[in-house]
Each structure stands twice: as C-alpha cells, then as structure tokens.
C-alpha cells in the first residue's frame, strides 16, 4: 500500500482547490464586468483573506506532516518539475492575497471583509506602489491559473496514464 497524504492535508488541498479556482474565475469576471463588479468584489476580498489564512495553516501542516515521497521509479526530471511546481503554487497562494491586500492599502482603500469588519493597511497609501501592485496582482493570477492547469494535467496523467499511486495519495 503506497503512502498517502494525511487527512488534514487532503482536506486542505481539496478545499483550497475549489476556493482558488472559484477565486480565479470571480477575479476575471469581476474586472471585466460593470453590472456584477460590486457583488463579485464583495466576495473576492474576504475569500482572498480566507485563502491567506488557509495557506498559512497548510504550510505549517506540510512542515509538520510532510507529503509522501514521489515513486522511486519516477524520472528525476519529472520529480524536479513536480517539486518546483508545488513550491510555485505555494508562493503564488501566499503572494496573491498579500499583493491584493497591499494593493488596496496602497490605493488608500479600506480593506473591508464583511460589514464593518476590516483589516488595517499593510503598506502606505502610495501611488507608485499601487501602480506596480495592481498589474502585478493580475499577472500573478494568470500565472497561478496556468500553474493550476499544469497541475491538473499532471494529476490526471498520474491518475490515468502513469497509474503510479501519486493521484491516489491525494484522494484516499
């Protein structure tokens, strides 16, 4: 029996997978829409902060309960690609909400979660910072979406073509 991810790891993975994919779609729908903009922004902000909390929990969990090793037979090039893409995903999962939070801070906007609940700014109200962070948020989101597509393609290839237990390790 091949080792699998601990239950908490699997739970965090699948919860965040659904939320991040929803977040990416909400994000691109929001910035291109006049009618739905405000409704979607009201979802996007608190969901982003929730994802920041979840990824922090997930990183701690990963350090405490490391993932099972990849199959020994897997070519080293594939292993390097797997590890690199996982750390890229972690980096983006932290970067996107932090850049979003920072960008609203630099715009001088309140960071409203729900009702009167809001977060303090993490950067000064600064035109030049906003001008960098706002486009960076979009570019990083596209990069996260592309990395997600690669991750999904790789996961399905493990499940359907390699059949090497890697996909199973995240399912049960």
């Amino acid at each position: 029996m091949a080792p699998t991810f601990p239950l908490l790891s699997r739970l965090l993975h699948w919860t965040m997978a659904v939320l991040i994919l929803a977040m990416l779609f909400v994000g691109v729908a929001m910035v291109s829409s006049l009618a739905d903009y405000s409704r979607l922004v009201a979802i996007h902000r608190p969901l982003g902060i929730l994802l920041l909390v979840l990824v922090a929990i997930r990183l701690i969990n990963r350090l405490l309960a490391p993932p099972p090793p990849l199959p020994a037979a897997m070519p080293s090039l594939l292993k390097v690609a797997a590890h690199a893409s996982h750390w890229l995903l972690y980096g983006l999962m932290f970067a996107l909400p932090l850049v979003g939070w920072g960008m609203l801070s630099a715009a001088g906007n309140p960071i409203v979660l729900i009702g009167g609940l809001h977060l303090p700014p993490i950067l000064p109200h600064d035109k030049a910072l906003y001008a960098i962070l706002r486009p960076a948020h979009t570019l990083l989101a596209y990069l996260l979406f592309l990395t997600f597509l690669a991750h999904l393609g790789a996961a399905l290839t493990h499940a359907l073509v390699f059949k090497d237990g890697v996909f199973r390790s995240m399912v049960k």
Binding site: A29, L34, A107, Y130, V161
Partner: protein
C-alpha cells in the same frame, strides 16, 4: 501483469495512453476556454470598465494623470459634525453624534482638466469621511436634481452622441436628438435638470448623491435614502453675464474659503415603499421626509499636486457598515469604471494641478 515502466516512451505512445492524454488535454483546454469566456475575452463587444474608460478618452482626449471624468478639480479638507439625528436610521458610526474628519474634492463634470469654468458645467463635491474605527464613507455628489442616464449602456452611448464635432466644436445635434428619442427617460431628466436653476458658485450649490442607498438601522431594517449636501451659504442664481477668468468658479471658491469655513447640511431624504431606488433619472416626490444629519465644514483647499484627494478613488460603494448600495445599476458600474480610471491614472506621471487655489487655504 507484464512488468512495465509507466514513464517510458513506449508506454506513453500506446494507443490507450495517447487517447487518455488527449482526453486530459481536452479537459484542460475546456477549463482554459471557460476562463477566457468568463474574462470576456471571447466577447470583445461586451461593455466593460475598460471600454467605458476608453470611450471617455476617445471623447475628451487623453490627459495622463487626471481622472477620466470630473478631471478639473481641487482638494478640500474639513470635517463633519454629526448631530445624531440619523443614528436611528443607520448604525454607521459617522451618524453617531460627534466629529469625523473629511477630505474631498470640488470638481467640474467632464473629462477635460483644462476646460474653462462655465455655466454649462455640472459641479461636483466628492467626500471621504475618515471614521475613527478605520472605516470610510466615500460619496460623489453633483449639483443637479437627477442623473440623466439610467444605466451604463445609456451612459456609454450618450458619451459618443455628445462628442464634440472636431469642425464645429459642438456635438452633432442629430446624434443627440437620436439618442434622446431612444432614451425618453433622459429627455425627462434633462427637463428636470434645466428647470432647477444653477447657483452662482461652488460654495452656495447643493450637491446630490444621485443614486439611492439603503440605511441599515440597529434592528437590521433597511431605509431607502438619497443624500444631499445643502449649502448654508444663501442661494444666488448664476449671473446673467459670465464672469471673466478661465477658473472663475474655483477662484471664487478659494476666496470664499479663505474668508471663512464653508458649510453644508447633510440631508437624508427617506424613500417610501414604491419610490424608485434603481433608477437615478426618476425624482422622488417632494414631500418625502428629510433628516438633517449634521454639518459639513470645509476649512481649506489644496491643489491636486499637494492635496490628499488626488490619489483617492471616490468609489460610491466604499461605505461604512450601516449603509449599503441599492439596486441602481449605476452604482456597480461607477465602482468598476472608477477603479479602471484610478488604475490608469495612478500608473501615469503626476501632472500639475489643473487649478491652484490662490489662497492655499
């Protein structure tokens, strides 16, 4: 089971493997296509914030660093003294009795920062109330009684219809007429706007937040409301003869502020069931209850190069708890388009202020 290496080229090029890899490719591409569709990349004709702001730039020309609308303006600083009267209607901390610091901006509607002041320009007052707990309330108000356009599509079409002809410097009357024929609500709203005389300046004008909002009280009940800043300075009509000076309105405001602080009453007009909240072209009956929530005092003006208002997006949906947007489609559209305008100008070099208050406050 034959011993096999699942990572080998031989395994991957088997017909069964190729079929599965193809299927995976289809799944990945389908998700990418759904993403592109959601982003609007497959429907370039859809009216989004970028197209709206592009149209402002087409009509007014590009003026880097300036707001795409209400481009000509000055910053203000002051405060709002709440009398507590509105606290029964809304839990917003700004309505509890007490003082809230305010920054803001006086401006002329239109996308040309160097336009001359004149009687035809709509004047605006935008405010940011800085609540003690870190919340903010931003609002942009105009000195007209109703808004002439009921939704973003009408706004977009009207911008093109009102574009000055390069030869005559005036909009094509036929295009304007065609727009009004297809938008009777605009024609009616313009009649109401023309029927109300403009004041002689910024300081004695009354500014109306033309969209409706909902005030939420402590029990959670929602009260439809439209708010206005009603001038304390006595109304005087526009002079028959236009004063001299390209910035005569701003110069008069600066002189007035230098003399003494200028004040406005924040008046909340409460809607009754059936009053339209989703259409800014429609007035509410004149007999609706009005609540005087307190007094706005403008203490000083600053040019946009040094004032705090320049890098503020007066997004009408930046609201404290206790105030929420109504079903007016212009609110979300303004929020989206202002954000696009803000992002463009923040990425551009900071220009000198279009007007300098001679006094500096």
């Amino acid at each position: 089971m034959p011993d096999r290496n699942p990572y080998s080229l031989a395994h991957l090029t088997k017909p069964a493997s190729l079929a599965r890899l193809g299927g995976i490719g289809v799944v990945v591409l389908a998700i990418a296509a759904a993403f592109a569709g959601t982003a609007g990349w497959l429907s370039p004709d859809r009216l989004g914030p970028d197209a709206m702001i592009d149209r402002f730039e087409e009509v007014n020309g590009k003026h880097p660093g300036f707001r795409r609308n209400h481009a000509k303006g000055v910053c203000l600083t002051g405060s709002f003294e709440s009398n507590g009267n509105a606290a029964r209607l809304s839990t917003a901390p700004v309505f509890a009795a007490g003082r809230t610091p305010v920054i803001g901006r006086f401006a002329l509607a239109g996308g040309m920062p160097m336009m001359a002041d004149g009687p035809a320009a709509v004047r605006s007052l935008a405010l940011e109330f800085q609540l003690a707990d870190g919340q903010q309330w931003r609002t942009g108000m105009n000195d007209i009684p109703v808004f002439p356009l009921k939704d973003p599509q009408a706004f977009y079409e009207q911008l093109a219809a009102g574009k000055p002809d390069p030869k005559t410097g005036k909009p094509d009357p036929a295009a304007l007429q065609a727009f009004l024929s297809s938008h009777p609500e605009t024609a009616k709203a313009l009649d109401l706007i023309k029927a109300q005389p403009f004041s002689s300046g910024f300081a004695n004008a009354t500014y109306n937040a033309l969209n409706a909002f909902l005030l939420v009280d402590a029990s959670g009940a929602k009260h439809p409301a439209r708010w206005s800043m009603v001038a304390v300075d006595a109304f005087a009509p526009e002079p028959a003869e236009m004063p001299n000076g390209k910035n005569y309105l701003f110069d008069a405001l600066a002189a007035r502020v230098k003399q003494a602080p200028v004040q406005w009453h924040l008046i909340l007009t409460l809607g009754q069931p059936g009053d339209p909240t989703g259409d800014s072209t429609l007035p509410w009956p004149a007999d609706r209850e009005k609540v005087d929530a307190g007094l706005l005092t403008v203490m000083a003006l600053q040019g946009e190069d040094v004032g705090a208002c320049r890098d503020v997006n007066f997004d009408p949906l930046i609201l404290p708890s206790g105030i929420v947007g109504s079903d007016d489609p212009l609110l979300s559209a303004r929020s989206a388009a202002y954000s696009e305008s803000f992002t463009r100008r923040e990425g551009e070099a900071k220009p000198p202020s279009a007007v300098q208050p001679a006094t500096g406050g």
